[in-house]
Symmetry: D2
Subunit: 178 residues, 4 copies
């Protein structure tokens, strides 16, 4: 299981909720904030395709290809995923066009999970983002297995969102078969 964090702050609310979800599990974690991933250059229609950008994107994709289950973790910024996470997702267009890797086939076989934490009524206002993630994974013919929406307005506040924490625990026990 691979966990990809799109948050800016170390140990922020979305990260804490995700950590609770994968407690005592063996996972690989990638923190996008520690990496350089450039915004996509739209070269979909260029004859020669996308130019190699020489950043950390390619390494993350290599790891992505090794996992069957992927958790995408992001704070809710303006009712969407973080720019960091979006930059990463946008670059998937590059991997789709790149003939060397079986990106589409690999993504198709994965199970995706989404964790979102926001401060302004996220259980209602993050629903368009959940739908967006659904469209994203369905593009590959994959399934958005599940999602957790948490509410938090200040650092650490997520621990008081009993509903989100419980949901994380339930998923955790299911994954660990306990």
């Amino acid at each position: 299981m691979l966990v990809i964090y799109g948050s800016h702050r170390n140990n922020g609310n979305s990260e804490q909720l995700a950590k609770h979800m994968i407690k005592e599990m063996k996972t690989e974690e990638i923190f996008l904030r520690d990496l350089t991933i450039h915004p996509i250059l739209d070269q979909r229609h260029d004859e020669e395709g996308f130019k190699h950008r020489g950043d950390d994107y390619y390494g993350v994709v290599e790891r992505l290809l090794q996992h069957d289950e992927v958790i995408l973790v992001t704070p809710l910024y303006w009712y969407g995923m973080s720019g960091r996470m979006k930059n990463f997702v946008d670059r998937w267009s590059e991997s789709l066009r790149d003939g060397k890797i079986e990106f589409r086939e690999s993504m198709n076989r994965k199970k995706f999970y989404v964790v979102v934490v926001g401060g302004d009524d996220p259980n209602q206002k993050a629903l368009p983002l959940i739908m967006q993630f659904r469209h994203i994974v369905e593009f590959f013919g994959a399934k958005l297995e599940d999602y957790i929406i948490g509410e938090a307005n200040s650092p650490g506040h997520i621990l008081e969102d009993e509903r989100a924490m419980k949901r994380a625990e339930i998923l955790n026990r299911k994954w660990r078969n306990i």
Copy 2:
């Protein structure tokens, strides 16, 4: 009227649709691809607030404050706005906290329009993005006045989306009172 373009390519499909919409009108245009706007650093919870980033963001906000009507133009990337546009929107958190400008009050009084062009059934799969924009402008108590979704799969293809082009013309005539 201010038009803010979030596309990467010069004269791309979303840009062409927006140009059709503002034909023969006096507007100010800002192309985010010509500017440097860094992703937000989440310093909402830092005591001293957001640090000045020294990039082009502040200039765009100054222009934004001068207009009552704003058109946000973006290609549909992975069923969301472009990273460029998202980076710009994310930085609004910085202006909200900045006591020197009346950002919230100014945004509250504006009318917002959205133009989105995508290739994979955007009239259905861009709906979550429209809802996201709605949440964004409603945060300020403003109204998403209208939106146009266009469909295009290759450069210039938008001109064949008669529905979107007509809708652009109708709005254009309404704005020009003709």
Copy 3:
């Protein structure tokens, strides 16, 4: 092409918009208001299945099976389809369970269109209904080909919604190949 009207009033706004869409075309029309279609009794889990209700539902289904293209026309009531239309759709559960007709296979092959007219910002507030119709037709593996949302607040007002009327004309010309 089969057009099913879920409105209450004769020649109401949604009906007028749909008529504009099928102008000079050969279609079959069904007005649910002229028929008796009872709400579903939830007997999905009853051993003997659904009881025959003796109402007009079965006749409509017979007609439905004869067409490859179906337009569902409904006013927007409380941001959803009319109760009449919903009662009709709900009864599809009965046809699904009924082994005598190949309901699911027939529906899978159809192209569906939706026409919705409402008074309170329907281009934004009818989007959940469009998404619901999408889920409905995707249940059968079919496709929501297109939809038109019209805005009207009083009888006949739809004729002034230039955008919706144009969209209807564009579809009409496409269907008639002119």
Copy 4:
């Protein structure tokens, strides 16, 4: 607190989930299946307004006006609320026009909760319905306080949806201040 059930079956899944949510609380319960509530006749534009239908609708509205908190409970039928529930909601148009009761003002002051149980991935496919309910209560200027989506495919199955049951318990303890 008033609980309005829109399900057909006695003790069905949505009912069981709602009962869990209001356990050991003093509430008033209304089962729409025991009442006669006709579909609305669209007489919004008739001079004399809506005719009195002589059914049970008016009694339910009287009870509705007595409560500050209302839970709307419905099975998910074709990704929407049940026809019974929709018929009831549609009739609100009648109360809005009726000058004798302060329907709008009363609704404006209420807190609304929604409980939905469905069988086909409801945590994703019931989201448009949640958005519809949001539009409905926001029409009155009221707030959709919270919602619970449960998953169940056969009678009693909801008890195994640990996530929904936990969420119900959390709300229950919050309401009971324990």
